[in-house]
Point group: C2
Amino acid sequence: MIRGVRMDEFIGKNTQKKLTINDIAKELGLSKTTISRAISGKGRISESTRQRVNDYIKEYKYRPNVIAKSLAKSKTYNIGVVLPSESNLTEIPFFQGCLIGVCEISSELDYDVVVTLIKEDDISLLEKMIENHKVDGVVLTRALENDLSVKFLKEREIPFVLIGSNTNDEVIQVDSNHIAGCTELTSVLLMSGYSRLAFLCGNMNHIVNKNRYQGFLRGYEKNRFIVDKSIVFLDLKSRVLVDRAVDAIMQKRVDCIVCSDDLICSRVLSRLDQMNYKVPKDIRIASFYNSPLLENHIPSVTSLRIDVKELGITAGKRLIELIESGETLSKTLVNYEILLKKSTS
Amino acid sequence: MIRGVRMDEFIGKNTQKKLTINDIAKELGLSKTTISRAISGKGRISESTRQRVNDYIKEYKYRPNVIAKSLAKSKTYNIGVVLPSESNLTEIPFFQGCLIGVCEISSELDYDVVVTLIKEDDISLLEKMIENHKVDGVVLTRALENDLSVKFLKEREIPFVLIGSNTNDEVIQVDSNHIAGCTELTSVLLMSGYSRLAFLCGNMNHIVNKNRYQGFLRGYEKNRFIVDKSIVFLDLKSRVLVDRAVDAIMQKRVDCIVCSDDLICSRVLSRLDQMNYKVPKDIRIASFYNSPLLENHIPSVTSLRIDVKELGITAGKRLIELIESGETLSKTLVNYEILLKKSTS
DNA sequence: TTGAAAGCGCTAACAT
DNA sequence: ATGTTAGCGCTTTCAA
């Protein structure tokens, strides 16, 4: 009896050599295989020895070495979450929400989350993570038009789930129904009597923005109003462009400015303030995406609310299903909610 | 010649069996050891064979299996980043900033980042991550008074770095100099003629808030003004408490409300708006921590700016030093900056 | 029901 | 300068 109670007394808790499956086998007079089976529950094993092993494990707080398991099974029990790093720190509430969601569900399902950063045109860190075998699958948190990540992961046949939408049906997707949401919010605004809506939209290489624009157009169609394209501004990638759009809009007769997301919206609000326009007195504002950035805004902003954490949770769940069973639902839509606030009252 | 060009032609790129160090050894007529040495650069090896090996690796895009390396070296090349998961805190951009910073520096130093979530009174996921041997060290992003994480990591002798401050000198710390910053900002306000400052402070179990309060008091001392404790509100853990404090303050004669952080500040602004008070006309506002939450605020808010990403980068660097060399600087302070804005003009 | 042995891909003494 | 060998701790045939 080399190891046992005496050892615990002898050496401090801290220096305690890690217990291995081998130690347990020797101690219990069984083989590694049996211990392994008792732990995994796979394979035939008598109830009595399984009990014996489990009791031992409890008592001595044995934790299997996940690395060794990884090597043997060629599986890491990690999933990667890819965040865009060129995003303004300000737009991060969305990505962080996703991340938290994925973390929560992963820990429940006994996976860990490895984070990596990419840029629109540089996915080298994602490539490295995959090639280093650090993860069993990946959650992408942003959908681009010609997405390098999607292309890469498909080629490498790595299981992955996209938070967002992609026209390729083979891609497992989790998203909120942007088109429906934006259509609905646009409708609500039109029906409230705001018939001249300006639309300010961000980077059109982001699929989500394409969808928002489409929703905007559909809202008009449904209500048989005509869109005035002269007050529609797409692909506004910088603050300056947003500012200019606002300036142009305020020269015209416009009832309400509809923004594709929280970032554009907060920029619009700031510009309006600079120019001394008051919301909602001089102009109304709505946003197709709410976030903490807007949540405490004064006045509160009419917007579409999406439960980002829910997106993350769902994506994580789908990914792990995909990893473990090889298949999962191909597209999941999470709910949105329309928040009518002071900015349009 | 089992493996080689013919294989690549035969089977698709995707199904290509992973190249191992063994394959290379056979192919080149060398031993595993030599290949290993050529790759790591450790041990004596002739320049010519190192070249030969490296050429082969380049050509066939060999990537070592990190898991196998991990097992052999008992090292994961992962570092853990611990984020608080309490709901309102997840909204705070501070933690994401830290995370991004750690990710950036880690990837440069060839580590990956595993994220885990804890609560003030539940560090079970951190424990699991450690016990599963998933990481070589940990970055903590929040300092508490009696910190379970710190206690746990010390006991287990896991290398870790704390973003924040801790009275225990043995803890490696990276922080901005909150006391000095808050002292300075308080001074500036007092010298601007705002002699009656209210102070609204968050959870006093967070060491950072203790330090901010101390800075506030020191600012008063330095200027030989007397603090009016009746307009100091500590440990405001909920919105309701903040609202009440604001209500109480507005009954009194107060020049400026100083908030311990961005979250409290945005709540204060929102409450003031509800009550129809205007900033800076009716009351002035300053915050001891700036963030994107406040950045686009109207009016802009006087505050202390901290480069969070820098905190993350520094913490990551220190941690990896600690992991690799066993020692590092015990305390690093990053710079802060005072932003004087409209809210106090 | 249990065990022996090979192997996952790499590292590191210890030869040669 | 290079090779041999024995692990790292676990899973998984295949046998008993």
